[in-house]
């Protein structure tokens, strides 16, 4: 047919596009939780209980951490958050917190551990000083930390059993013995001129040189913490631990936290815990170190972090917010969010258009 127009032309083909899950797809588990009102209390804590200055400081903390991360970290973030890396810490967090708010639906109903929660909240708000964050950052930066942490995390519940058994062999019988041990240790640390040598020697005796296991890893971590690489590290560590110990003894005089820690360690069930055999903490430790360094250098961020922790652990808040946090940590919401982050950063669905 003769003609100069486009009457008989077909429309040009649509440009190719990817087929990745959308943001709504990725965040569906989180949105479903919200729709079921399973995040209401968490939302209320953040929106209404946290004071505006702390809200701003917390947002600023996230921005500062993102800004301080080394170049290329964003592209590696999804991998770093995987279950065999930073994600491996989530079950530990769950184990530490899940019994605290109680469970009224259980048979028999489990009451909240109000005294423990009170102690946790007080210590979180009052004892996490910038000195302690400086010490934490140095530990995360130490090249030997990754090996010790990998060993400790990979040991999982059996490692916890090994630690408890070793302490009992060392004379700390049962729960009360463990609390007494922690009290004595904190009292010693709180004294000026505390020497970590005898403590490390004691651990050396408890560790089987042939199979150091979790206890050996714990000893190594303690050595990294209190000895460091330079005399200044030891001074700083002693100062930080002294301040924390004094604060701990003042705010938790009955060692409620130690008792709870014992309960968690003693009840660790190798059959239900599922930590990967091989962890790669060296990959995510720089991330932790950066975050801790930002916390150490920003007083407002430190205050906001401590306030948020203290608020979430406060008994009247925790009984409602902690169960929601546990549900959130066990759900697919966080993996979905991490996967979305991966989609956005790694751009697997970007279609290369030929020009």
């Amino acid at each position: 047919m003769l003609g100069c127009g486009a009457l008989d032309d077909s429309a040009p083909p649509a440009p190719p596009r990817g087929n990745c899950p959308t943001i709504d797809d990725r965040l569906a588990p989180l949105v479903a939780l919200a729709a079921q009102h399973k995040t209401d209390h968490l939302a209320a804590v953040i929106a209404t209980r946290l004071d505006p200055a702390s809200q701003r400081a917390f947002i600023q903390l996230i921005i500062d951490v993102a800004h301080a991360l080394p170049a290329g970290t964003a592209a590696r973030l999804p991998k770093l958050l995987a279950p065999d890396r930073l994600g491996a810490l989530l079950p530990i967090v769950v184990a530490l917190l899940e019994d605290l708010p109680g469970d009224p639906t259980a048979t028999p109903p489990q009451p909240p551990k109000l005294e423990e929660l009170t102690a946790f909240a007080a210590v979180a708000q009052g004892c996490l000083s910038s000195d302690l964050f400086v010490l934490g950052a140095r530990i995360w930066r130490d090249p030997k930390t990754a090996t010790a942490l990998d060993t400790l995390l990979a040991a999982g519940p059996s490692g916890a059993g090994q630690v408890v058994a070793a302490l009992q062999a060392g004379g700390a019988e049962g729960r009360d013995g463990f609390r007494a041990l922690v009290a004595n240790l904190a009292t010693s640390l709180a004294q000026p001129g505390f020497d970590a040598g005898p403590l490390l020697a004691l651990l050396d005796r408890l560790v089987d040189p042939a199979q150091p296991g979790a206890l050996g890893a714990l000893r190594d971590l303690l050595r990294i913490a209190v000895m460091g690489d330079a005399p200044a590290d030891r001074v700083q560590a002693a100062e930080a631990l002294r301040g924390f110990s004094r604060c701990l003894l003042r705010l938790d005089p009955h060692q409620r936290i130690a008792g709870h820690l014992y309960d968690v360690l003693a009840s660790a069930d190798p059959a239900t815990a599922a930590l990967p055999a091989q962890l790669h903490s060296a990959d995510f430790l720089p991330l932790l170190a950066t975050a801790t360094e930002v916390l150490a250098t920003r007083p407002a961020a430190t205050d906001a972090w401590n306030q948020l922790l203290g608020l979430v652990l406060r008994p009247d808040v925790a009984v409602e917010a902690l169960p929601e946090l546990m549900v959130l940590l066990r759900s697919d919401a966080l993996p979905g969010a991490f996967a979305l982050l991966g989609d956005l950063v790694l751009q697997p669905c970007r279609v290369q258009v030929e020009r």
Binding site: G18, T22, A47, L344
Partner: protein, 521 residues
Amino acid sequence: MRSRGWGDVPAVQGRSGGRAVAETRGIHGEQCRGAERNEAAPRVVEPHRTGSASTVAAAVAVAIAVSGAPACCWASVFELFGASPRAAAMAGSLTAGANDGEAAFHNPAALVAAPLAGAFVSGTLTRPSLSVRLQHPICLAGDLACQGAHPSGHASRAPVVPADASGWAVGWNYPLGGALRRRVAVGMGLSLPNGHIMRITGPDPQAPHFPLYEGMPDRLAFLFAIAGKVHDTLWLGVGAQVLAKLDAAIDLRVNPTNHAMDRATIAIALRPDAGLTAGAVFAPTRNLRFGAAFRRALALTYGIPSDVYLGDALRLAIGLSHTALYSPDHLGVGVSWRPTATLNATADLHLARWSQAPDPSPQVALDVQGAAVRAFGLQDIVDVGTDTPPIRLGFRDTWSPAAALEWRATSAWTLRAGYRFRPTPAPRASGPFKYLDSDTHVAAAGAALRFGSHGAAAAERLAAAAATPADAPPPLHVDIALQYHAVTRRLALAVDPYDPVGSLEHSGAVWHATIAFGATF
């Protein structure tokens, strides 16, 4: 207060090779005038009002707004330097003495003073040489890096100084004929920036900058007016100064994981806005005139709300609004006296209502919404600027006196000179927002060369108007003018020790030159 010496402080100047900044410190000009008094910049905020709208000049406004050049900041070329080379040479002292196209701006009623029609085209060149001296060195890296490099403090904002600029202006006046002959005249004035079609900028209010001079050649000025003689001794005029309003809305549905835009809708509307101008002249004798003129406040406002839909889980509402090109309400009174046939003396007093000036900084609001945000109670926490009220400038109304002389030295040459004092409306920049200005002395001079002879028709009109030779110069003319603005030194000590810029000192000069070619007919 900081006591560190200023020996190594950085100075930012308007152009390379500008004159050195004097080292003398101190607070100058403490007389009560404008906002130069010893007052700190305000820190509280309050709502502001905007200029009025009119539909009188709708078609003209749209045409000019589309093809013209509204831009940044405050005050037009006309307001700062005058609407013609004659006005520039007489430091703007023309409320009673205007007599051709320049009258559309300086006093619409004076349009009927000219017995002949006239037009001119002028070119302008403005060369600011303004400088800012900071107490601290400038560091634009991150806070941590800057704190490490400059432990005694740093300025996290660099001063913005105005650049050289040029533009064009047109003036036109036309006395009507027929039954309205010698009774009614119309006129217009237009100032066009040079070098770009449109430029609107919104400087960071915390960066030290000179809002009256920045982008001033980008400020379109367009006025038209009509005037009539109520009586031979009483003339009235009315007109409009035209700008535009820009409204836009953007609706995007983005699929970022697939790098796709599912939907994009953009709507832009440009609406005219005009401010009233009016004037009156009382001429009891041929040699004496009293004038009064008023220009309504005017500004260009625009708002661009954007909805970025990423999904039900997450969406962003981004709002951008800005009020630029603000001119305050202006009232001027003046007198023009001709003691001899060759000498004209004028004096003016101008009130500018700067106290009504709105926040000139861009308003940006980011509202994060969606189920994923609400799940953690973050819907209000991560928002930015949604509850930020506009900045309260704390500007003061100013009274500005001016005086000028115009002398017809020969039949061909006319010489002019003028002086104006412009008190600053801006408070000392001691607060977080650094709008810099200070009292300014304006000295001006110029000359006009007239030549040629009128045709028969023009000569007839002149005779009918009983015009004197002073009223009817030769038809062709070349006018030149030069203005020097001596911007006095001003020291601003930062009130807040965490001020992002710190204490500063600013001063400088602005040169303005213009040349016009015109004719009467």
